[in-house]
């Protein structure tokens, strides 16, 4: 059963700006869905409409089988974790976590028990009587999580919850959040502009661009079969290499070298992931390597291929040098896109 269902949900702000074009998708029960896209593409707008913090301009929203378009946020059976945590500064950690329960008529005893459980789960036991101002960023983040999980809602919403943390803590919390979600099995929508977070945490990724959905798929689908040049360039670090190419005699030609069989005629865009190239003395392509980036386990070679810049990923057991190198590509690793609208062919 779909836990969350959007039917042609659209959003136009009062100033006339259409932040979200009508959009439909479903999220299955227990699924961890990540909304990813560049800044300003409408991720928060979409999430906030699901939360009820923003009016829905058009379409129908269902949560757990109930249409909630006109239902107050507090009645939607959701919990949300905000980017800046949004803790109540005048309440202790214990009160912060218990506040939502208190307003739902839970008994004092039950609240105390649930708060203690959540605190134990999140290692917050020692901080229950502190105010948020006396906590570190990571601890505040945990309190915000605690406030969400005690409620045992039908849906978790996260709006860039890790973006205020340093890189190390972010990696750690990423794993903790994912593990927690697995354990609790609560359907989740997680907004981020960090494609690494999206790839590592998601059961399913929704890639957004300028108020539209570009692609919905598992991390592997989105990575290996991008639906558009936008997705190809957005997902992956470094992103997919994109080359303008021509089709002649049923072959896609990069410069004067055939890459793979062509499904269409005319101009196309060929996309190749950096790791799909191999250094091969007998390869057909010739790359001029200008910079070698050492990343420990592997290396990135930056340079040009014909007139286009290119990045190639090689493992560190392969020796590499600047200057001309020959490359080969498996034909099935090439993704072809329409040269005009960027859609996958």
């Amino acid at each position: 059963m779909a836990q969350v269902q959007l039917n042609n949900i659209g959003k136009t702000y009062p100033n006339g700006f259409e932040a979200l074009h009508p959009t439909s998708f479903e999220i299955a029960e227990g699924e961890f869905t990540v909304l990813v896209g560049p800044s300003g593409c409408g991720k928060s707008t979409l999430l906030r409409m699901v939360a009820g913090l923003e009016d829905i301009t058009s379409g129908e929203l269902q949560i757990a089988g109930r249409v909630v378009n006109n239902v107050e946020p507090a009645e939607r059976d959701i919990a949300m974790v905000f980017q800046n945590y949004a803790l109540y500064p005048h309440m202790t950690v214990r009160k912060n976590i218990g506040y939502g329960l208190k307003n739902r008529g839970t008994s004092k005893q039950a609240i105390a028990q649930k708060v203690d459980e959540a605190a134990a789960l999140l290692n917050l036991g020692d901080y229950l009587d502190r105010k948020p101002s006396q906590l570190s960023g990571g601890q505040r983040q945990r309190v915000a999580m605690g406030r969400a999980i005690v409620r045992d809602p039908a849906l978790f919403l996260f709006d860039e919850p890790l973006s205020n943390l340093d890189a190390k803590l972010r990696n750690q919390m990423r794993i903790e959040i994912k593990a927690l979600q697995r354990r609790l099995g609560v359907t989740s929508i997680y907004v981020t502009h960090d494609q690494v977070e999206a790839m590592t945490m998601a059961d399913r990724i929704i890639v957004m661009n300028a108020g539209r959905i570009e692609q919905i798929g598992t991390p592997s689908e989105v990575y290996h079969n991008p639906a558009s040049t936008f997705v190809a360039a957005f997902m992956g670090a470094p992103p997919m290499n994109l080359f303008p190419a021509k089709v002649t005699d049923g072959q896609v030609m990069l410069g004067d070298q055939p890459l793979c069989a062509a499904p269409a005629q005319g101009a196309v865009t060929a996309g190749i992931r950096p790791e799909d190239f191999t250094l091969d003395a007998t390869g057909p392509l010739s790359m001029d390597v200008q910079i070698i980036e050492e990343l420990g386990a592997h290396r990135l070679l930056h340079g040009t291929l014909g007139a286009h810049s290119v990045t190639v990923h090689v493992s560190n057991d392969i020796s590499a040098a600047t200057g001309l190198q020959r490359l080969s590509v498996r034909p099935d690793a090439v993704c072809l896109f329409n040269a005009t609208d960027g859609k996958r062919l």
């Binding site: 507090a74 919990a79 005048h90 307003n103």
Partner: protein
């Protein structure tokens, strides 16, 4: 760490001098003079003075009239403070909801702030004019013959109304900016946690407004005690007689009308002690209690 500093003492003293002189001439000197003359009985016609020790204070506390005016001042201050704060808070909460209109709303309310207290008092006098004041007519509908300056309660009501009206805008501005400085996400978190709007107000908004509210409480008490002088003066029209007045106004009446400089000075010393106590209370509490970040 290296600290920038003055090598001589004379330069900083020189730089501070204008401020120090102003404080000394306009604050400390009058204070000392008031303190001093409160121990003397001044001849009403300016022919010297006699040292009487604490007699002025003893007379004051023994005076039924002084006690009556003191209790009126307490009631007056409490009412003015309460209504100025409460009305401003309600208006600010409403204005905060319609953020878009808030600017016009704010400007309109701010205008009243620019009105000088005597003018506020004068407007009140016009509103309550015996023969054609609109509010007098309004009360007339209910069969009440409203008489400012004659009927004690009517006069007191006019004073309170004008004082509240004058103070609401300042409070409104502070409350509104206090409300707007509450992070949006905190209110949104409350929106998800609590379905009742009044519950959210008392549990989240009000506590977060407390620092502003407390600051305003002190400001308003001070205002109602001291800054309402101009309003009282105009409403009473210099005819104290049987009319209500505040302690500050009595200092003026006794000192400049009654030429009892000694007694008047003793009264102002008492008021100074009151202000001192309020200030200490304010700093104590602000340090202790109401601080979150």
């Amino acid at each position: 760490m290296k600290r920038a500093g003055f090598t001589t003492v004379s330069l900083p003293v020189l730089l501070l001098l204008p401020q120090l002189v102003i404080i000394a001439v306009f604050f400390y000197w009058p204070t000392v003079v008031a303190l001093q003359s409160s121990f003397y009985l001044q001849d009403p016609f300016g022919f010297g003075s006699t040292f009487v020790g604490l007699q002025n204070y003893i007379d004051l506390f023994g005076s039924r009239e002084y006690r009556r005016i003191a209790s009126f001042t307490v009631v007056f201050s409490l009412l003015v403070t309460f209504f100025s704060l409460a009305i401003a808070l309600v208006l600010a909460v409403k204005a905060d909801k319609v953020l878009r209109g808030a600017r016009t709303y704010r400007t309109l309310l701010m205008w009243v702030y620019a009105v000088a207290p005597p003018v506020a008092g004068f407007i009140a006098v016009i509103m309550f004019n015996q023969s054609w004041g609109p509010l007098t007519e309004f009360f007339g509908f209910f069969g009440h013959d409203y008489m400012v300056g004659v009927n004690f309660n009517d006069t007191a009501f006019s004073m309170i109304l004008a004082s509240v009206w004058k103070q609401v805008p300042v409070n409104f501005i502070f409350f509104l900016s206090g409300l707007q400085s509450i992070p949006r996400s905190v209110r949104e978190a409350a929106l998800i946690d609590n379905r009742s709007a009044s519950g959210r107000f008392w549990d989240v908004t009000f506590p977060l407004l407390a620092p502003t509210g407390f600051f305003l409480l002190i400001i308003n008490i001070t205002y109602s005690l001291f800054d309402t002088f101009g309003i009282v003066d105009i409403v009473v029209k210099g005819e104290p007689g049987n009319n209500p007045m505040t302690l500050v106004y009595k200092v003026y009446v006794d000192g400049f009308r009654g030429n009892d400089l000694g007694g008047s000075s003793a009264q102002s010393v008492i008021l100074m002690v009151l202000v001192l106590a309020l200030t200490i209370f304010q700093f104590r509490l602000i340090d202790r209690r109401i601080h979150y970040t």
